[in-house]
Symmetry: C2
Subunit: 342 residues, 2 copies
DNA sequence: ATTTAGCACTCAAACCTTGCGAGTGCTAAC
DNA sequence: GTTAGCACTCGCAAGGTTTGAGTGCTAAAT
């Protein structure tokens, strides 16, 4: 059986309707609302067809139809009308970003907050710092008799600090001197370049070999695990959605994901680059997404460089139209801000 | 009517029992479990007395008794037996703190995690940086043509960064020079001292008045709003407790509190100093605590200086005995670590 | 070949009714 | 002051009934 245009149309109606009523959709309601010129019996046979194709399910034999995961996928990629933000919503977004904060983190916090408010969903974002960023400043200074603090600042004002043990036989002057040398060597370079330097350079630093290695280790550690910031807002929004209302287990599961930075990171970092809006629907393909959840994400970038991703996580039955338009709307403003700050 | 010893004993049994059964407690079960030498009828009349005194409630006329808020308060302050951690629990705590992290934040993250796991409750902590901390390092450097980055490091390795507009007519050398002067002036002083300096010093800086004031403003801002870190773990743990299982509204309310740094801060900062373990029971006296919630907190300090508070938030019906012993157990280890790090 | 009206069938949800049992309060005796 | 005994209350679970929305099928109409 093929997906005729009429079937597609009807499928769209079913999903539309189900998204905002949360009730199985009946043949009658479709004819009444959308197709007054054909009869419910006709729609009924079309629905039976769509069910056979795997796009619809029946909770029980005398109920209306409910979209399957397949249906959602098709809906989002092909069927769905493109939404538009109301001027009220647009103003809300603009208002939220009015006092331009100067650090990325505040901007991202604003972003997730706005998205969560407008979509009534949990909103998440990660900022990933590219290893192509240059180091602006690197500084080592004595903090306690045996410990020094290493401070690294990068272009996107990522700031990192870490304690380093001062080698036993090192004097204060030597520490200062080593700090100067390391600074001279590292400032202006990217993390990538530094890691490659390592082997070639150690000669030169023979006197400060020990401290140099500790700095390298610290910098490498930033890369391995500490390279992202995660921001979440509206964790509890899931409870505004009926399918989660009486299912403690589901909520627990959902919360355990959105309150874990690691899990969120994992989810958002699968993001392929360059794709504007990306939709993942939980259950089958994505094991790490909570059950019956879907995630819509976008990336933000400045000057062509991807800085991170943001998006929403919520029930399968979410208002994709609205979500997509909100993400796009926020995205535009975000890029403006980021490019301006560059 | 007075609270006879027997009434107290019975009240304790009721609360004990209710805490781990979540069911109204009957006269019969009390005699059977705890007082086999008197009859249920006797207990019944005592229960009636306790009800009249406001310590017990009856969900309906033919049900057992349930503790009132007053009863919980009395229970916690007077009635409750002192709990002891099992060696298993103690080991769990020690294990969690084994690899001593060197920064406060990691330690606090560990703390809330351990507490949340052991108590099965949401655990929160705030670290407040005292304004008596000395500044270890202050640095201003050019970041973009019109912007400089201000970096402040304090004793407890609080690190703060903020963008500052560079005054229009300022050269790079002047900026460096101003940075040096400000560093000379500020390093080794506490925030408090600096704020007081302000008026007296500006003369000297006439050339750099503008940048100096911007630095001052930035530092003051840290104090007004940015002075605490909040850490939370086990946000979803509330769902493990039956009273919240089928009440979406309650859960929503609860989550909106524990996911808001501001709200948590407010709650934990009401903490009076010097009090070891502190119990707040929601509903009547504390409006800002979610409904039917109570909060048990402790403070942690190093060298006699209070660094912050930590504790749990959960349903009224929580295992206070265990919570208190966990908080105390963690507290001891925490103080060891902090003092050692000093 | 589609479309439609008509009708029998299905099934969840809402609503009653009923019986059970846990727990109480009261009273009268100890 | 304590206890046994008993009548009473009330939530809860189980079972039964009704209702109505929605379907699938069939036979006639286009």
């Amino acid at each position: 059986m093929k997906l005729s245009d009429r079937k597609k149309k009807i499928l769209q109606y079913v999903v539309d309707d189900y998204i905002n009523s949360a009730q199985p959709v009946s043949s009658k309601s479709i004819t009444e609302k959308y197709m007054p010129d054909i009869s419910s019996a006709t729609v009924r046979s079309e629905l039976a067809g769509l069910e056979e194709l795997g796009y619809l399910n029946q909770p029980h034999s005398s109920a209306g139809r409910v979209p399957s995961i397949e249906a959602y996928k098709l809906y989002v990629t092909e069927l769905m009308d493109k939404g538009k933000l109301t001027s009220k919503e647009l103003n809300f977004i603009k208002e939220a970003f009015r006092d331009r904060a100067d650090n990325l983190e505040t901007v991202v916090q604003n972003t997730v907050k706005v998205i969560s408010e407008l979509t009534d969903l949990t909103s998440v974002a990660v900022t990933s710092h590219s290893d192509k960023e240059k180091i602006l400043k690197i500084d080592i200074f004595k903090y306690k008799p045996t410990k020094a603090l290493l401070l690294v600042v990068t272009e996107s004002t990522l700031i990192r600090d870490k304690f380093i043990d001062i080698p036993e036989n090192m004097s204060d002057e030597q520490l200062l001197d080593a700090g100067r040398m390391i600074s001279n060597l590292f400032v202006g370079k990217t993390f990538n370049e530094i890691v490659n330097l390592e082997s070639a350079i150690t000669e030169e630093f023979s006197a400060y070999k020990e401290i140099f290695e500790r700095v390298m280790t610290a910098i490498e550690e930033y890369f391995e695990k500490d390279n992202v910031k995660v921001v979440v807002d509206g964790e509890g929004k899931i409870l505004n959605h009926t399918e989660y209302n009486n299912d403690g287990e589901k909520v627990k599961n959902f919360l355990s994901v959105v309150t874990s930075k690691d899990r969120i990171c994992e989810l958002l970092n699968q993001e392929e680059q360059g794709i504007e809006i990306n939709i993942k629907i939980g259950g089958d393909d994505k094991k790490d997404l909570p059950e019956d959840c879907s995630m819509v994400t976008a990336t933000y970038s400045a000057g062509g460089v991807r800085l991170g991703s943001y998006g929403v996580i919520g029930p399968l039955r979410m208002d994709y139209q609205k979500v997509v338009s909100v993400l796009e709307g926020v995205g535009k403003i975000l890029e403006d801000i980021l490019n301006e700050n560059k």
